[in-house]
Every structure is written in C-alpha cells, then in structure tokens.
C-alpha cells in the first residue's frame, strides 16, 4: 500500500540527514571539525583533505569567512548550532534590519571572486529571522536580508543566475530559546554552495 512505501522511505530518510544542498552532504564529514580549525592562512590543507570541487570551494571560502569574523558576532553555542546546518557562510543582522555589517564585505568579496571565476557554480542564499512577531512579515524580512546579500554579490560581478534565493523567515530557527543571544543567532543569512 502507498502508506507502507511512505513509511519505508521515511525510515530510509530518517537515516539520511535531510539537507537540500549536495555539497553540504559531502561537506558533512569536514563539518564535524569545529570551524575554528580552518586556518585562514592555510586553505590548501582543506584542499588535500578532500578531492571534491564543491568542497574545495566551500572550504576555501569557509576559511576566509572566518577572517571576516562573522562568528565573532555570535556565541560559541550559536556557532555550533549553525554549523549543524552544513558548510555555509553566515551573516548576522540586527533586529528588524537588513543592513549588512561592514565587517562582512571582505568575506562577501571572496565568495564573489570564487563565483565570478567559476561561472557554473551556484549558491543558495537563505534568509532567516528571529521568532518574534508576524510569521509572514518575517518571511518578507528574511527575503530582504537574502536580497541584500545577493545585491552585494551582484555588485561584485556575480551573475543573477548563480544565486538562488529563499526566505525561511522564522520557520527554521537554529536556536529555540528566547534570549537575545538566541534571537541574534537566528537573524542570519546562510550562503550554501549547491552541487
């Protein structure tokens, strides 16, 4: 019966961590290391660790992401929670705002450099908000954040066709608490390289 097949697939799926980017699936192995391990001065270490092109891109840019100190904006608890979502760049935002913090511009330029030199590469830019207020308004606010990041990449020469935007609003929080630190962790855009 159809129901039985569904629960079979369900059983298989539960054993696979459901993520929507193939690079995150492969990057999962590298991701078990803490982000602090990536050294901004030695991206070639990551290149030797795995052979996959997408992972190279992700790891290389991950390193420079750390240089941009986006994680300095958040707590270690947040870093861990966010890292569970797979290899990605993370950019954090102020309450009700979609302005990009100036310390992120270098990291964004690095992403743009990679994307312009690899015109077939694509990224998913996902906007998120904290849990307060109207859920649909938060979808729109998450969209604005994703759009703001995309606009910077486009200004650095990246083609629109390389950018896939989505807003999850408050629907996919990585921190479930109600402290300011929890809310800050959720006010975030993630850039993920797509397979």
């Amino acid at each position: 019966m159809k129901m039985k097949n569904l629960s079979l697939s369900a059983a298989v799926i539960v054993s696979v961590i459901a993520l929507s980017a193939c690079s995150t699936l492969m990057g999962k192995k590298a991701q078990t290391q803490r982000p602090e391990v990536y050294n901004a001065n030695q991206p070639s270490e990551q290149q030797n660790a795995t052979g996959a092109t997408q992972n190279q891109a992700a790891a290389a840019t991950q390193a420079y992401g750390q240089t941009g100190s986006s994680f300095a904006d958040t707590s270690p608890k947040c870093q861990l929670a966010v890292a569970k979502g797979g290899v990605a760049q993370h950019y954090f935002f102020n309450f009700d705002q979609s302005n990009i913090r100036s310390q992120y511009m270098k990291s964004l330029q690095v992403q743009a450099d990679y994307l312009t030199t690899n015109p077939k590469a694509k990224v998913k830019i996902a906007g998120n908000t904290d849990d307060r207020g109207s859920r649909e308004y938060n979808i729109a606010l998450g969209w604005r954040r994703a759009k703001a990041i995309a606009r910077v990449l486009e200004q650095y020469g990246v083609e629109k066709s390389q950018l896939k935007l989505v807003s999850y609003g408050a629907e996919k929080p990585v921190m479930l608490g109600t402290t300011d630190a929890d809310y800050q962790c959720n006010r975030r855009v993630d850039i993920q390289y797509l397979g």
Binding site: I13, A18, S20, S134, R135, E136, I139, A140, W143
Partner: protein
C-alpha cells in the same frame, strides 16, 4: 544517486488517520461575571458522569461547550435537585431555589443498528405560569419550553450532534449564532530524535478529533480556509522552497496554486471563493497579487519597493487589507481593488500586522507591538480606536471566529507554543494547551453546514 537523494529529501505524507497524540484541551481562564446559570441534566440512556470530556455523552459535550463560551455557569450534577428527562417532570420551584435560569433535559434512545434517537428540551424555569409552578399540568410546563427537537444519528455522530444542540441553545439564549460546530486548522511542530516534523491539522473548535492533512519534514505555514469550509490553502516548504497548495479537507486531494522563484506566501481566499490573494516577489519585492482560480490569471495589486504581505479580504470582497512597511515600519493598509487606491488604517504604535476583518466589517483584529510586547488588539474602523485584547506580550497569528465573537491566536505557555482564545470584548479567555509539541498559526473555519 543525486536524483534519489533529491527525491528522498522530499518527505511528505498525506495522512487521514486520526493521530493518537492527545487532543488540545480547552481551559477557561477567565469568564464573565454574572454568567447565566444553566443546568444540563444527564440525558436518559447515557451516563451521569459528565466529566469524561472525550465521550459521546451529549450532556457532557453541551456542558463543556456552554461553560467554555464563558457566558454560562453550568451547574454540577451533584447540585441538581432532580434528574428529569422531560420538561413535564421538572419541579420548577426547586430549580428556581438553586438559582438556575435554564434547564436542558433529554433522552438518547437506542434504535438498533448503531442508530439513536435523541430528543432535547430547553426550559426556562421562570416561564411556567406563576400560580401553577408546583403543578406538573401540561399547560404550566409547556410555556416554559423555549426549544425542543428530535434527531436521529449514528453512534459516531453523537458528538457532532451535541455540538449542534449547543449551537441551538446558545443562539436561543444569546441571539448570536454558536460556533460549537466549527473547526480550527493549525500547524503542529514536533521534534523526534532531533528531527523536526510539521503537521497541518484540523480539529473541532473544542480541540477534539485532530486530523492531519499534511505531514512534512519541511515547514508548513499560513493555512487559510475556503469560504465553504471544504478546502485549505497553505504554504509548504517541501523540497526546500515555498509553494502554495489548495487541499480538500475531506478527501485530502490537493493541487499546486503557485510555485515561482522567491516568496510564495500568505494565501487568502476571497469571500466568493473564486480568487486567492497571495504574496510573490516577481518584481524582486514582496507584493500582493490576486490569482483567479479558474483562469489562473494573476493580477498585481500593490506596487513599489516596500514589503507588502498578509493580504486579507473585506467581507464584501471589494478591498484587501495588508501589512506594509511603506511608511517605515509595518502598518495596516487597505487597497480598493477597483481603483487600486491605498489607504492607511493603523497609526497606533510602530508595528501592526496580521490584520483581518470581523465578519460585520466594522473592526479589524491585528497583531500589535508596543515596547517590544506583541499582543492581539481590535481596532474599530469608524472610531479609529485600538484596544488590547491580550497581555502576554508573546502573541501572534490572530484569527476571528465566524460569529465575530471570539479570536483564536498563538501564544506561549509553560515555555511552549499553544493556542489561546479571547472574546472580542476581551472579557473571556481560554487556553488550548497541546500535549506534545508546539502549536501555532490557528485559523478559524467558516460556519460549516454539514
């Protein structure tokens, strides 16, 4: 390999079975002073135990319905001066002495083949002729019967029948149409082994008989009822990106209404059932569109660079209210569809969102933020005055009942997302705590004629 993985990423199940997880339990936290005293006597043929709320006991269901309306004070069985099953057997003075205004009596007679005949009478104990209140002669008690009806129902219809009788009693005594036979749709989120699971569920207005229409490993949002109460439209992130679907509640069959790049959000069914308002980012910015269902024609209704979202139709279908930050922060605006003219409706505070009309078109219910506190408020459109209905500061997603008297909304209780209900005059408050998981985004059904 990739294709299989991508297929596996889409985990959805369309389920009709009733979930074994417990129903939402209604708790009255504030009723009105001077609520009308009423006694619902256990019906002949059924148990005298009215505390078993999950049963098909008609008197128990009616008692819970009327008590939870906040407008009635229901008398416990052990305080009843008798257990009559017929108005002719009521000793009026005894009930008057107990301070009871109205008594409901009835019978459930098994007819075989799992069919039952149900009779009830609503009696006002002060309406019997004064000089004959101790007399059980036909004329005395006949004056006192306000309402009486006989029904036939199958065993599994008894609970629904009880809700219908509650509606009749409520309307007879208050003049307002009852909402005991309506339903509430909502989103339930549960976490199992670190995996989040989302459910779109429909339950009775008292929280019983939850039925899942959709289960997904990706978020579901913004359910909206069709005006005939037969379909729900909603946003689903199955596959990782949002799309709007319309699904038949009875059969589970569904169709995709919108899946374009960007936002597909905030669907709202028009009062004539022929159109759906929704939010798309085709222009790069979230704007309101109207989709005509039969022709699939799409019309852009708002323009510009602001966030426009949360469309909701006026009862006459001629305008749409929506949330927009075109003035700086989110406020409520109204666009007349014929002229595209936009008018701002809210000026109180710096954040107003999720607006909907009361059925009489005279008020809007909104989510209002003040000093960082999110509460539900009602604004009278003529007077322009806004009044708070809730105080928790953690509220969202209000939805008005079809009789305009109650608002269901999402709030926090005991550290979890639960549903609350408040009357539009703010006097009556209820909670529906869920037993497992987080409940949010409730939406009240229209009156259902079934």
């Amino acid at each position: 390999m990739m294709r299989i993985l991508h297929f596996l990423f889409i985990l959805i199940g369309i389920v009709f079975a009733t979930f074994s997880h417990a129903a939402l339990d209604l708790e009255l936290t504030q009723g009105i002073q001077g609520a009308t005293p009423i006694a619902i006597v256990p019906f002949a043929g059924q148990s005298r135990d009215l505390h078993n709320a999950r049963s098909n006991n008609i008197a128990a269901v009616i008692t819970n319905d009327l008590a939870h309306s906040g407008q009635f004070n229901t008398i416990p069985v052990n305080q009843m001066p008798g257990r009559p099953h017929n108005a002719a057997n009521i000793v009026f003075k005894a009930w008057q002495k107990k301070g009871v205004n109205n008594v409901v009596v009835g019978k459930v007679i098994a007819k075989g083949g799992n069919h039952y005949q149900v009779t009830f009478q609503l009696v006002n104990v002060y309406n019997a002729r004064p000089n004959k209140t101790n007399d059980s002669s036909r004329q005395a008690w006949q004056n006192a019967v306000l309402l009486q009806k006989t029904f036939t129902a199958a065993g599994n219809q008894l609970r629904a029948l009880a809700h219908h009788i509650s509606d009749l009693i409520y309307q007879q005594l208050t003049g307002i149409r009852g909402i005991f036979s309506t339903k509430i749709a909502y989103i339930l989120v549960q976490e199992h082994n670190g995996q989040r699971k989302y459910y779109l569920e429909v339950a009775d207005a008292d929280g019983h008989n939850p039925k899942a229409l959709l289960t997904s490993s990706q978020p579901i949002m913004s359910p909206t009822w069709s005006p005939d109460g037969k379909q729900l439209a909603y946003v689903s992130f199955e596959g990782g990106f949002p799309a709007i679907y319309a699904q038949h509640v009875a059969t589970g069959s569904r169709r995709k209404l919108s899946k374009v790049p960007g936002i597909n959000g905030a669907p709202a069914w028009s009062p004539d059932g022929k159109k759906i308002a929704l939010v798309l980012t085709k222009t790069g910015y979230p704007k309101i569109y109207v989709l005509t269902l039969r022709t699939r024609k799409l019309q852009q209704v708002t323009h510009g660079w602001s966030i426009d979202t949360e469309p909701n139709w006026s009862p006459d279908g001629k305008s749409i209210i929506f949330t927009s930050n075109r003035g700086g922060g989110p406020q409520i605006y109204q666009v007349t569809l014929a002229t595209k003219q936009v008018q701002r409706l809210t000026y109180d505070g710096s954040y107003n969102a999720t607006a909907s009309f009361t059925p009489d078109g005279k008020n809007i219910i909104v989510l209002h933020r003040q000093n960082g506190l999110y509460n539900i408020a009602i604004q009278n459109l003529e007077k322009g005055r806004m009044d708070l209905l809730t105080q928790s500061g953690q509220d969202q997603s209000p939805s008005v009942a079809p009789n305009g008297k109650m608002v269901v909304y999402a709030t926090q209780y005991g550290g979890r997302g639960v549903l609350g209900i408040v009357s539009t005059d703010g006097r009556i408050k209820l909670l529906l705590p869920a037993h497992e998981g987080i409940v949010r985004e409730p939406v009240w059904s229209p009156f259902l004629n079934n």
